[in-house]
């Protein structure tokens, strides 16, 4: 059985099971495709992400595609590893869980209009120590960063890890959050663990339409969208999670 990792926009129960499976088979190879999980074989089925190899980022240059070909997982992994270790990233950089190294947000080709040539990748990273986002232009052929741009304002969509952390902060909070009382009113039990709900989290920046939350934009904040196992959405518009300070911001 291949290792399968359900990421947290699906039920956390599944993810917990997957994590166990992952522990049992860490020697899987790249491009493992479990036929059961192949798209379209069963309508409505989840399509899981799987760990590539042992999950380590490739440090050796993989086979490179044409300039405008979509990135392979190996190319993406290689680009992340080069970008994260670049000298322009502060030595004390941390991710959303406080661990060393920046948070990876996304990677893709530079825009075609930017008229780059060769196999280039833009890797978006976030350093929680300095609350700074980085766009790293990586030259895969040369194996190095050719341009590093930083900003304290850019807030790309959250990573799956950031969504997990945001959900845990919301559940642990002692603040009166509408969705928690709504959950209890309608489900008859209190919400005490992320695996009771499904969720996604969007990055959130203050746009003057709320009375509070001015810090979001320079701080990294996330807005949760939470639903019950039955697919019923809970009202989560009254707060956002400040991931930089690990706290709840009531936006009204």
């Amino acid at each position: 059985m291949n290792a399968t990792l359900s990421v947290p926009w699906r039920s956390r129960k599944l993810a917990a099971v997957a994590a166990v499976a992952l522990g049992l088979s860490c020697a899987t190879t790249a491009y493992v495709v479990s036929q059961d999980d192949v798209a379209g074989t069963e309508p409505g089925m989840s399509s899981d992400f799987e760990v590539v190899g042992n999950g380590d980022l490739p440090t050796k240059k993989p086979a490179l595609g044409a300039d405008r070909a979509p990135l392979s997982a190996e190319e993406t992994g290689y680009a992340i590893s080069i970008a994260s270790k670049d000298a322009s990233i502060p030595a004390g950089a941390t991710d959303v869980r406080g661990e060393s190294g920046p948070e990876f947000l996304y990677a893709d080709l530079p825009e075609v209009g930017a008229e780059t040539s060769g196999r280039k990748v833009v890797v978006a990273l976030y350093d929680y120590t300095t609350d700074t986002s980085f766009d790293m232009l990586v030259d895969l052929e040369a194996g190095k960063v050719v341009k590093s741009t930083k900003s304290v304002k850019a807030q790309p969509p959250t990573s799956a890890d950031e969504a997990d952390v945001a959900m845990q902060i919301a559940i642990d909070s002692t603040k009166d959050l509408l969705f928690k009382s709504e959950f209890e009113d309608n489900m008859g039990v209190p919400l005490i663990a992320p695996d009771q709900v499904e969720y996604v989290a969007g990055s959130w920046v203050f746009n003057k339409t709320t009375s509070k939350g001015q810090e979001c934009g320079e701080d990294r904040c996330a807005q949760l969208m939470v639903s019950t196992a039955a697919g019923t959405y809970l009202n989560t518009w009254d707060f956002v999670v400040n991931l930089s300070t690990k706290s709840i911001v009531k936006t009204q």
């Binding site: 036929q35 192949v38 379209g40 992400f49 590539v52 979509p70 992994g77 741009t149 990573s159 009202n235």
Partner: protein, 687 residues
């Protein structure tokens, strides 16, 4: 209809990966290493391997582009190029239209005022939000999409069918009856389009991005919303998706019971109305232009004509980045086009694409107020609001316009396709898809309809300019002529010496020409007589008789077609009695058309002029043939004309109060023998 996606090149590594997962190739997708056909060799290939889509539609038109799923933007289409069904008749190979096309923001504010979502910059249409194109979803061919990121410090990946490519019927494209009353020939075409789509789920809403490339070169960009309307329990709190404020929603179902603070009450709840503010980014690259021009066209009436209102068109060349707000900068008749002045069709008209955007802009939010904005391409400007690029973070399209002080030559259009959704009973789970769309329509990209038939090629402009030389209309036979017995046309022909045969004209597409017919009779393939009637003689015994009918119009190539044979006795076995009918043109026109030669316009004016002072503008028009007529010079909203003497003319303007750099545009209208030309220079007004 379901031909394989023409050419999909894969590197060996990626091909191996695909083969390891054969079940991925759903809906008839077969990944192949294909070699370029000779026609494609003329074009430089698009180097995008697995994301290459190249498809020949039913009518022979071809599209190619690179399509992939960006983690934030979702479906992103690059290097979009078209080859018309008429092929080299318009131009050789593929021609570029757009460098990049993608959604740049999807802002969803609820009318309750309690929440708004930025589905692109907060969530994105890629990553886990991308939905699978399984066979129950994609009825065409699903392309595999490989996605990867890190999770808990580990690199994870999945490859799912994520982009659907299919050829869909688009209905009747042309229906033209040649005669007023019917009974003439009918030109009817059913069109198809190449639909490239993906689906992304952001909580309750599920969006289909669907771009249709039709067989006439038109592009329709659509965003469909399905899934579910915002679900919630009924609430007495106005800050809720099912609230109690009639004004900001619509009642779905009857009253419901609401319990809060221990007490229960019955209320009618209202599902919150909301906007879907979608802004698309279109980076134009008309024929890979070095310089493109954006024009706005407005229409107004100066008053009544003799029998109908007069409507006049006004062109404005948009020199700088701009945002256009309905009712302020344009009205409902206005439109824009992006033109490559250096790329001309065979009529000498510059190739362009017109933006057709019949949608509403949400004027309650500043950056969604303009219906369209244009800026010069700048790599850091990726999203219409909350820009994510660290080079110009947090900015929106209004910032981009304000910060752009260059002449508009490398245009990116930010096309705002708003939709205000007042929920209704029928929108309940699952919600039927609702669409917001705009079109990009070729305007003079082709000299004629890009599917034009031979029989209509001469029709180009008014009949007085029917082009018999380079675009001849050859009469096309649609029903063959027939030989009958002259005295008894309804009876079967029984050949006998002395019997008179007659031949009908058959039916021809005359292409608006008045045709005359000529008839030639053949005995065993040898011409023996002319005229519509033919009387059989002794010599015709034991032979096959046929007739050829030639349809002609003065000045045009003729069409000739042969009847079925009439057999008289026992013809010699060696002869082949049925020559293939020929519809080859039989006479080659020799008239040379009058060809206008090109001209160049040069403008001499001081680089700096003093405010309030008059200054001269001297225009010189040069051409291989004598230059006559007038030149018009525009400056600061004023327009002056002067008749050229030896190709030269001078006008004077007064420098205005506002200290700025102005354009001086000189336009020579041309004559029958000399083509028009124009020149724009800058003049700076100083103190």
């Amino acid at each position: 209809m379901k031909k394989g996606v023409g050419m999909r090149k894969k590197s060996l590594a990626r091909l191996t990966a695909a083969l390891a997962a054969p079940a991925l190739l759903t809906g008839g997708v077969v990944a192949q290493v294909a070699t370029a056909s000779p026609a494609q060799a003329a074009d430089s290939p698009l180097a995008c391997d697995a994301s290459l889509i190249e498809k020949k539609l039913e009518n022979g038109a071809e599209w190619r582009m690179c399509a992939r799923i960006h983690p934030v933007k979702g479906l992103i289409l690059e290097q979009i190029e078209f080859k018309p069904a008429t092929g080299d008749y318009e131009y050789s190979g593929f021609k570029r239209i757009i460098d990049q096309l993608n959604i740049a923001q999807l802002n969803v504010p609820y009318d309750t005022g309690h929440v708004q979502y930025d589905d692109i910059t907060s969530y994105g249409f890629g990553k886990q939000y991308l939905q699978e194109q399984g066979p129950e979803v994609c009825k065409g061919e699903a392309l595999p999409v490989e996605q990867s990121f890190t999770y808990s410090g580990r690199l994870v990946e999945r490859t799912i069918p994520g982009i659907c490519v299919q050829e869909d019927p688009t209905g009747i494209m042309t229906h033209a009856q040649e005669t007023q009353i019917g009974g003439g020939t009918l030109y009817v075409d059913h069109g198809t389009g190449l639909a490239v789509s993906s689906i992304s789920k952001i909580s309750w809403y599920e969006y289909q991005q669907r771009v249709v490339f039709d067989d006439h070169g038109q592009i329709e960009v659509g965003l469909g919303a399905t899934g579910d309307i915002a679900p919630a329990w009924a609430s007495t709190n106005p800050n809720s998706f099912f609230h109690n404020n009639e004004k900001t929603g619509w009642p779905l179902s009857g009253p419901s019971q609401v319990t809060s603070g221990g007490s229960t009450q019955t209320i009618q709840s209202y599902a919150a109305s909301h906007w879907h503010n979608a802004i698309f980014k279109v980076d134009f690259g008309i024929d890979k232009a070095e310089r493109q021009v954006v024009e706005q066209y407005d229409f107004s009436s100066p008053g009544a004509g003799t029998r109908a209102p007069i409507i006049e068109r006004q062109k404005t060349v948009m020199d700088a980045a701009f945002s256009s707000v309905a009712g302020v900068d344009h009205d409902e008749l206005s439109w824009w086009r992006v033109m490559n002045p250096a790329s001309k069709n065979f009529d000498g008209h510059a190739r362009s694409y017109e933006i057709v955007n019949q949608n509403y802009a949400n004027k309650t939010i500043p950056y969604t107020t303009p219906l369209v904005s244009f800026t010069n391409y700048r790599a850091c400007e990726e999203y219409a609001s909350n820009n994510l690029n660290a080079g110009c973070p947090g900015q929106n399209v209004l910032d981009y316009v304000a910060n752009d002080n260059h002449q508009l030559t490398d245009p990116v259009a930010w096309i705002n396709v708003g939709f205000h959704h007042t929920d209704k009973d029928e929108d309940q789970s699952p919600m039927p898809i609702h669409w917001q769309k705009f079109q990009l329509v070729p305007r003079d990209f082709f000299a004629q309809k890009p599917t034009i038939k031979d029989a209509r090629k001469c029709i180009n402009g008014p009949f007085s300019s029917v082009n018999a030389v380079t675009k001849p209309c050859t009469p096309e036979n649609t029903a063959a002529p027939k030989i009958t017995d002259k005295n008894d046309p309804t009876a079967a022909v029984v050949p006998a010496v002395g019997k008179t045969l007659t031949v009908s004209n058959g039916t021809w597409r005359s292409a608006a020409q008045s045709l005359t017919y000529a008839y030639t009779w053949f005995r065993n393939g040898e011409a023996v007589a002319t005229g519509q009637d033919y009387t059989l003689t002794e010599a015709d015994n034991n032979s096959v008789i046929t007739a050829k009918v030639t349809a002609s119009a003065t000045g045009f190539p003729s069409g000739t077609v042969e009847t079925a044979a009439v057999t008289f006795g026992t013809p010699p076995a060696t002869e082949d009695p049925t020559d293939e009918p020929t519809d080859e043109p039989t006479d080659e026109p020799t008239d040379e058309p009058v060809v206008a030669v090109s001209s160049t316009t040069a403008v001499k004016v001081a680089a700096k002029v003093k405010t309030g002072k008059a200054f001269p503008v001297t225009v010189t028009v040069k051409s291989a043939k004598p230059v006559t007529g007038k030149v018009t010079v525009k400056f600061n909203g004023k327009s002056k004309s002067v008749t050229l003497v030896s190709g030269k003319g001078t006008v004077k303007f007064t420098a205005p109060k506002k200290l700025a750099t102005y354009n001086v545009v000189a336009s020579y209208a041309g004559t029958d023998t000399v083509k028009k030309s124009s020149k724009t220079v800058k003049v700076k007004v100083v103190r």
